[in-house]
């Protein structure tokens, strides 16, 4: 059963490429934010702990769509207010891609904060103490001993988050980024065949999630090499 796409196949493919680009960029931003969030939540300073806690609670508690809209429409208000003292009175607008990466990265980071926190807490403190006793500095001990294990422990959780992120990229079509959903809507407008095209988009998303599942299980196997039963 191959649906007739009336020559809109390449357009959908172009959108798919943008979807993938958006997901990868947001994931990178989210991982950095997640590590920072986890570090803040586990730090000795109560102020940092409260900030980390507030970040992950607030962004996990409000809808992704609202975050996207807030960043896209709210950021220009803030940026314009910030630019006015410098003598710039024009209109500033965030590009949909930047707004999308920011919004999805922030959401991913909030969930990743909890994943990384769990992973960091699962590593016995004796290991970094041993590394310190061998004369490693704090940074070196973190980089050589703690971080490689965090990757192994956090990967399954991060993988789930990436699957959610991949599907959430569809929301960025609402602010006009030409990713898969937007391109599909464009094709629907031209052909008046909404079911055919939204089904095609759904199947493309299915292929993406299936490929991601395969890639993730390969990555998990690699991260866990030398560990557990064989």
């Amino acid at each position: 059963m191959v649906p007739d796409l009336h020559g809109f196949g390449p357009v959908l493919l172009e959108g798919t490429l943008m979807t993938v680009r958006l997901a990868v960029a947001s994931c990178a931003v989210g991982i950095v934010l997640g590590l920072l969030g986890a570090a803040a939540k586990l730090s000795g300073s109560p102020v940092l702990r409260a900030l980390g806690g507030a970040y992950s609670t607030v962004l996990r508690g409000i809808p992704e769509l609202l975050v996207v809209l807030m960043i896209y429409f709210g950021a220009s208000t803030v940026l314009m207010a910030a630019a006015r003292p410098f003598g710039y009175a024009g209109y500033i607008e965030l590009s949909p891609f930047v707004a999308g990466v920011t919004a999805l990265g922030l959401t991913f980071g909030a969930y990743a904060t909890e994943v990384f926190r769990g992973a960091l807490q699962a590593i016995p403190p004796g290991q970094s103490e041993a590394a310190r006793a061998l004369g490693m500095g704090r940074v070196l001990a973190f980089r050589r001993v703690t971080l490689p294990q965090v990757w192994r422990l956090a990967l399954p959780g991060l993988g789930n988050l990436f699957m959610v992120l991949l599907k959430d990229t569809a929301l960025i079509s609402v602010i006009g980024l030409e990713e898969l959903m937007r391109m599909t809507a464009f094709a629907v407008g031209r052909t008046k065949e909404p079911f055919t095209f939204y089904l095609a988009a759904a199947l493309i998303y299915l292929v993406l999630t299936a490929l991601t599942t395969l890639a993730l299980s390969a990555m998990e196997r690699r991260a866990a090499r030398g560990h557990g039963r064989r």
Partner: protein, 233 residues
């Protein structure tokens, strides 16, 4: 920051919040009803019954909710048979399309949660019930499902919160839920920051209350937290 505006738009936002809660409650309830048979099929001893709902679950969990909503709202109208059917007055309404899409979506996730919980019921309990002469259906109703529901509750709580957040997508098909209402107010006032912030706070309130309610239900249903009074069997 225009605090006045935030306060002034509160009545409208609360109206939107009510619509959000209604969407979540209705589709959540229907979703559970749909999830139970799907989960039971997934744990059936017969391989073909187990395999039957796989495609359903794979599709609904592997595609974005937005695509599912658009498939129902815009997609179904493509077919003349649908447009001429008695169901068209229902399927034409954005409200019912949202309910249908949300129900199907949550049923797939809930079914998987329930399947995990059913499989976690200790087999000894099922065997004991069977040994006492309970039929298959009675064992299911008296032993397996009550145990499974208790175990599924924490995960289901997360699913309800995801539903609340997902319900914001109803605003993309013109519904005036909390997000939709916020967007309408912004279209009139051009103050996105204040209104989205107020809406965000209301969403936070919803998720906080739901988290509390689920936690209370967990302790209420927990057998170790409230042991049976002595003297009762």
């Amino acid at each position: 920051m225009d605090l006045r505006l935030m306060v002034d738009s509160l009545p409208q936002l609360l109206l939107g919040m009510l619509a959000t809660l209604e969407l979540v409650a209705l589709s959540g309830a229907l979703g559970v009803v749909l999830a139970v048979p799907v989960a039971l099929a997934r744990v059936s001893p017969r391989a073909w019954v187990r395999a039957a709902p796989l495609g359903y679950i794979f599709f609904l969990r592997g595609t974005p909710l937005l695509v599912q909503i658009f498939l129902v709202y815009y997609g179904l109208g493509q077919f003349e048979t649908v447009r001429e059917s008695v169901l068209w007055p229902v399927l034409r309404e954005a409200y019912w399309c949202a309910i249908i899409a949300f129900t199907l979506n949550t049923s797939a996730y809930t079914a998987e949660i329930l399947r995990g919980a059913i499989q976690a019921v200790p087999p000894g309990e099922v065997e004991a019930a069977r040994a006492l002469g309970m039929s298959h259906a009675l064992t299911l109703r008296r032993v397996v499902l009550p145990r499974a529901v208790r175990m599924a509750l924490p995960a289901y709580g997360n699913e309800v919160i995801l539903m609340v957040k997902g319900s914001a997508l109803a605003s993309t098909i013109t519904l005036l839920d909390l997000t939709g209402m916020a967007r309408t107010i912004i279209a009139k006032t051009y103050k996105p920051l204040e209104i989205f912030l107020a809406a965000g706070l209301l969403y936070l309130l919803i998720t906080l209350v739901i988290t509390r309610l689920i936690r209370r239900a967990e302790t209420h249903l927990s057998t170790t937290a409230n042991p049976r009074p002595k003297g009762r069997p």
